[in-house]
Symmetry: C3
Subunit: 215 residues, 3 copies
């Protein structure tokens, strides 16, 4: 069950990273597949390093590699229609974020970490791949710049951890995990559509130009 | 003892990273706490990965997480007065650098690495969090651009390693560690105030614009 | 044998990273040695993390540290004549790429990974150090932007894995490894000289400015 959610999240992030490569970075097929794979596998690799679950599942298990690479190939072949759906990048990113928040937190619990650590690790898994993607294409990472990105991941991970401690996972594992991921997904997309932001520092002292654009 | 120094260094870097987020990146509360936590915990995570001491102490031990997060919250609440003290960012960075150089080198020795490796690992611990911070906000890392940043860390780590091999740590552990950190701290701040630089390559062939500013 | 190739690759990348620091980043001796060492050791550290071969060979074995540091020192002392040979950066990068593709793939096979994973890990080892280098000096990584960078590494790693599965490594280990590295080296340099690119996405939808330059 966790594996299926993890693979769906991997595929969503692979499509997202590959579309970002086509849109922003103007790269060739290697760059498209590479950025797709890094976005898809980066969060899980970070998770497995921090959990000491090395070598990472994504290297030992060929299914992750196949799913990550096929996402890049699909985007390469169908980049024209896919990039026309302008919201697709955000929706795919939200899907990967939601699924990885839940699977990351669940894997941390399974390996014996406490609930707070599991929530943080779920969030790191969720935002990790996208952060590496943004660093490589020289954007400010979403987790720093963008309204409500880490918060929905924290909520999704917390719901997954809460359901597990309540013993729900024995009986209702799959629906509980999907519910937690769904909550994260809805909050992220609502935040994007409504332009919600977490509170800014009071008395903002900032004077420079915004970091979001490059020149 | 090491734990206390490590937590103080974590707190200093959390304040530094959070202040940097407020000053440079114009982010919301999540960005402030995230950048504070990454700056505070990044060096120690790198250290524990390289030492194979996984999962990192910062995830298993809730005190690191609490200290790192509270630094971000404090900066968020008091950003106006804190950012007025313009030298605070540099002083906090120097404090974290000094303490992590000593604790990183000492932990490496404890886990059986040789003295040269321990000095290098102390330096990596000291400059690691700030380097990740600079990459995320798209600055050239201090360790590449700035006069005397790695050198004081190297000296602090070397003094800590030297004191341990001289057997000082049995009798005078705490004063020796504080002395090594203090030497690093003073050299870093002196270097900043006097504008000291390490030697530049002879016959500088460089022609472009300096990498420190973005456009 | 693998160790010798690995050390030669480390030296090539150390020279390359240090020369890049002199050319692009206008840094002092610490920056030159640091960027050289990160470029030289980054790929191997990534490899050893993903293989769970921690602490990384580069920290336990002083020869890697000595070779990486001496590359930086040599560039610092002779930066004027070295930077005059304008193609030296590319040739050194291709040498490191080729050798690390082969040694990374071989080490992965030795530690029991499957052939596909070994090929991917060889490629990650080959492109890893240069990618970290490019992120630190705020360039778009070669693996995303540049024609034929990951592809020759993939080919070199695949040849090394193929030779090993064919049992060649028992009898002809060294020539086979050198042949695989040589193929990667020639393809990389041919690609650079002829301006070859991997295929671009059909119907390129990109409209912004290229990511390769910064302002």
């Amino acid at each position: 069950m966790l594996l299926v959610l993890d693979l769906v999240g991997t595929f969503a992030f692979a499509l997202n990273g590959a579309l970002t490569a086509v849109r922003v970075a103007h790269v060739d097929i290697v760059g498209v597949i590479t950025l797709g794979a890094i976005t898809a596998l980066g969060g899980g690799i970070l998770r497995d390093i921090l959990l000491d679950a090395l070598p990472p599942a994504t290297f030992v298990d060929w299914r992750y590699l196949a799913v990550a690479a096929s996402g890049g190939v699909i985007v390469f072949l169908f980049s024209r229609p896919l990039t026309r759906v302008t919201s697709s990048i955000d929706v795919l990113d939200a899907a990967g974020l939601s699924l990885f928040a839940v699977t990351g937190a669940s894997k941390a619990l399974e390996l014996g970490l406490g609930p707070v650590q599991a929530i943080i690790l779920g969030t790191v898994t969720a935002v990790g791949g996208g952060t590496v993607r943004d660093v490589l294409i020289r954007e400010v990472p979403s987790v720093l710049s963008s309204g409500l990105y880490a918060i929905p991941a924290l909520i999704g991970a917390a719901l997954a951890v809460g359901a597990t401690s309540a013993g729900v996972d024995q009986v209702l594992g799959a629906p509980a995990a999907l519910g937690a991921a769904g909550a994260c997904f809805v909050i992220r997309l609502l935040g994007l559509h409504l332009g919600l932001d977490a509170p800014k520092p009071p008395g903002d002292v900032w004077t420079g130009s915004p970091p979001g654009n490059n020149g």
